[in-house]
Subunit: 152 residues, 2 copies
């Protein structure tokens, strides 16, 4: 069986997972350090989804790191299927959360008579950007693993 770069158990996959963990943690931190996030539905949704993505990516980063160290990648179709489905679901949810947040921030910045302090709003903006980067890496992981799936 040929090795797909970026699939589970390779060092490229480890970097992707690490990137996802870092970007989603950054998104969560930038969002929740502001005290007003719970008054907007989209921001609460982003925090919820990031709370799901961080443990998922972190666990898979640990698995990948371990697989690289012992040079024995996971190749059970059942486990890979769970990883692929989880990746796809989380990447769709992350995209929805990131675009909701971005559009709400845009509305808060541009609306007439909005009372959003520029410092707080730019923090929300950075959070949305981090979430989009995290979505991008998550989509890459999902695609690589989906590519590997039929060859098992």
């Amino acid at each position: 069986m040929d090795e797909v770069p970026g699939s589970v158990g390779t060092s490229a996959s480890f970097s992707l997972r690490l990137g996802q963990t870092i970007f989603s943690s950054a998104s969560l931190l930038f969002m929740s350090l502001g005290v007003e996030f719970y008054s907007y539905t989209a921001f609460c949704y982003l925090v919820t989804i990031m709370g799901l993505v961080i443990p998922w990516s972190f666990t898979l980063a640990l698995v990948d790191g371990y697989s690289v160290l012992v040079k024995c990648p996971i190749r059970q179709p059942g486990i890979l299927l769970i990883i692929v489905v989880g990746d796809w679901v989380l990447s769709i949810l992350t995209l929805a959360a990131a675009s909701s947040t971005a559009s709400v921030v845009d509305l808060l910045l541009n609306a007439n008579g909005s009372n959003c302090p520029p410092k707080l709003c730019s923090r929300y903006n950075i959070s949305a950007a981090m979430a989009i980067l995290s979505w991008f890496l998550s989509l890459a992981s999902a695609l690589f693993n989906l590519w590997l799936l039929p060859s098992l």
Copy 2:
């Protein structure tokens, strides 16, 4: 080669494409019959994406209808690849547009001191719901065609 239900050139695919066309047209109509949509970035984005989805789905519905009638489905890998990539890109864009619109509508409905007339806002809400239904059908099409792709 086994026939995948819902892939290009079957009657299930024709129904999916028809559903996408109907839901995205409904979404576009509900959004653009209101006169204020161009003052919100998310709503302009939804209108743009729906303007891309409608001709794409309509063309493929025609192709599917023709294939069903002449009983000769398209099986060139190159054409199928273009359809799969287009479906995925459009389904990602539709999801982003739908969730942006939904979150902005939610913000407009719940924000203090918002001046959104209930009639207009509920129309935006229906538009977002139609866009999400259109995304759902588009994702189904993309999955079925992706499933067919390795067997060619």
